[in-house]
Symmetry: C2
Subunit: 416 residues, 2 copies
């Protein structure tokens, strides 16, 4: 079967599922998936073992091998994800903004699935279940394309998904898997813009750039998270210290960790020494501007221009003193990645200015950048985070996996 | 100035306008535009005359020359558009879905401009003013690229726009114009995905296909409108006749005119002869399936498979008898363009099934497809119609020219 043939089958399955896919049916399928995962733990771990052996032979790093691993705890996690997604409200079919027009007909919008979604991801096989479950609950068909290193694990997980569909009388191509051993297959998939409606790539920046460059299908993505904490001159210093410490060190390897600290010049002398000592005690390397080094220089490296553009994903922090809120916002809009940026302030005008002028997907006042997360925001589950400007920005959950159509309810109205 | 340099200046002007562009300021600029259009009628008509002369020399059709013409009435229309857009609510800055999370911080969304929007269009110079006014009111910067045949008219209109910006202390590059005499400039513009955030092409299908194929920037568009009226067996025959007649003949050259009539077999013998006679009296050529021709054959051509995919934009109608609502929906989802499709029915189950299963941007019950329009739906003004599935579907107004960002208002919350 060619990639185009598979995409056509998935598209066909999407159209059929439009008619069949009630909320109850979708939850039944997700329940079947959870039961089958539980019943097949031995098989899943055995298939995963093949991937792990091959990965070790190929010399994959310990970090990659860890992400690749399926064990009892991770199978528990996938089962829990299915149950959580069952408990979320179905976004599809909700009618809103319905109102009567002067000619007497009613017009409004209804949430509908996006259609066929392609998910391109790397080593973690649990993404196979979580992404498929979110797409299914939102009424979409999905074409999964996982990493080559997880081939046997993903084949076993896709069998679970497709059997759950068949058990409920649904075309198994609603959840398709693109053979990850054929590398040209992804390029071909990205050309099928009449059959696939959205691509969500998850992984490192180079994977995502390559997908975005080749795709003729709309892509929702973020390349990186260069997140800022800006300490305004009116900030509560204790709060500011707690927030930058949490934003940098609580989990430095993720996209909503802070990479740059900006501090108002008026506050710098009193604030910076204590704050930087906190960070250094937590093992953070500081790369700072000259003005910072004039105030506090112990074990502080000089920041390069490039450092301010960098997503360190590590215990490294760039630091800069700015003259005022305008300079802070200009820095963020220029060097940042429009992912998540925070201000710490007690001044309501400064908070409002920052909210208005900072052109990022998440703008945070007096809290850690680490809060930018689908679960923390209350989405229930997250398919990814977008720094794009259309359709969805920031954390994306079930609602962001839907679109809308206009509904007109008339009584014979025509156009005069 | 290269295309990239112009895009960079427009991007810079967008970022500055984020800070300056209050609703009052935006309305003041639009007021200046309206005044200047009124004051410069003579110049605008003289510059337009140059385009008309050149167009005649090049042998443009009478229809194209008509679209190209700026006269007093059309200048009145542009002034009226500015005034209407002033009267619409500013969508930017609206905060919604704000709620308190268990950790005590508030989270919600705020409407924000999309950023820099490229509008690519053809002969009609009044689009220059209407598109610029809609983008400005929604806080966006815009790069306009009109048709070569309207070069002098557009230069004069862009002067009006840019002077209105300068008079109000705004960078004139907020509204830029790409010289339409350099054909390669569009291709270069479509590559600037770090500086331009959305492309809206308006015009014929070939222009739009070419833009969509070349663009690395997201595109909102519709290729064509193959709209259906489906007459369910329970339909009120008089209502159905009035709706299909209006949908086909009231303005056949537009994208929301009906191109195909589908009729339930159970109703066909009583309904079709009278309905087709109505249409023929209005000058409509009928191309029908064999079953239709068995019932009514007078001056009825045989429809080809291709006819059902065709946007005639003319007094031509394809007609097909279908067995039931399922067959009607399958036909629409297969042959249609997902633009606008209507059912005529007195059966609430049929209406609900049609609303749910028809996968189009506008789904209409008991009214004409001609209602699918930004003005008729109450958007106030329309920048275009989308048959894409992401961000915006159907008629697009000011709201659809905005995106959102997440706002988090905390009191020192960190991630545990």
């Amino acid at each position: 079967m060619t990639v185009r043939e598979m995409a056509a089958k998935t598209h066909q399955a999407y159209q059929s599922f439009l008619k069949q896919g009630s909320s109850a049916m979708k939850d039944r399928i997700l329940g079947s998936v959870a039961e089958k995962l539980d019943a097949r733990r031995g098989l899943l771990i055995a298939e995963n073992h093949k991937d792990l052996l091959a990965g070790k032979e190929q010399g994959l790093s310990a970090a990659l091998l860890d992400r690749l691993t399926l064990n009892e705890a991770r199978i528990d996690g996938m089962i829990r994800s299915c149950r959580e997604i069952i408990s979320l409200n179905d976004p599809v079919g909700r009618i809103y903004d319905m109102h009567v027009r002067p000619a007497g007909f009613r017009v409004g919008k209804m949430r509908v699935p996006i259609g066929v979604i392609g998910i391109i991801y790397e080593a973690r096989p649990n993404v196979t279940i979580e992404a498929a479950a979110l797409c299914l609950k939102s009424g979409n068909a999905v074409i999964l394309r996982g990493g080559t290193s997880a081939y046997y694990s993903n084949m076993a997980l896709v069998s679970v998904l497709q059997e759950a569909l068949l058990d409920n009388g649904i075309d198994r191509h609603l959840l398709s898997y693109l053979d990850s051993r054929e590398r040209s297959a992804v390029d071909e998939m990205l050309q099928q813009d009449d059959l696939i409606h959205l691509i969500i790539p998850r992984g490192g920046e180079s994977l995502i750039r390559s997908v975005a460059e080749k795709s003729r299908i709309p892509v929702l993505k973020h390349y990186k998270g260069v997140c800022h904490v800006y300490v305004h001159k009116s900030a509560d210093p204790a709060m500011a210290r707690a927030i930058i410490l949490n934003a940098k060190v609580q989990r430095p390897g993720v996209c909503n960790a802070a990479e740059t600290l900006l501090v108002d010049a008026a506050l710098a002398e009193t604030f910076l020494p204590a704050a930087l000592q906190d960070l250094q005690k937590a093992g953070v390397e500081i790369r700072a501007c000259e003005r910072t080094r004039d105030i506090y220089s112990e074990k502080v490296l000089a920041a390069s221009e490039e450092d301010y553009y960098t997503e360190f994903l590590d215990l490294i922090l760039a630091v800069k003193i700015v003259d005022d809120i305008d300079a802070a916002v200009d820095h963020i809009n220029r060097y940042g990645s429009a992912h998540t940026d925070a201000i710490v302030t007690r001044d309501i005008d400064a908070a409002n200015t920052f909210i208005r002028n900072t052109d990022s997907a998440s703008v945070i006042v007096n809290a850690s950048t680490r809060l930018a997360d689908g679960g923390v925001y209350g989405l229930g589950a997250e398919i990814g985070i977008s720094t794009d400007r259309l359709h969805a920005r920031g954390p994306m959950g079930l609602e962001e996996l839907t679109s809308y159509k206009w509904i007109v309810l008339g009584e014979g109205q025509i156009r005069e």
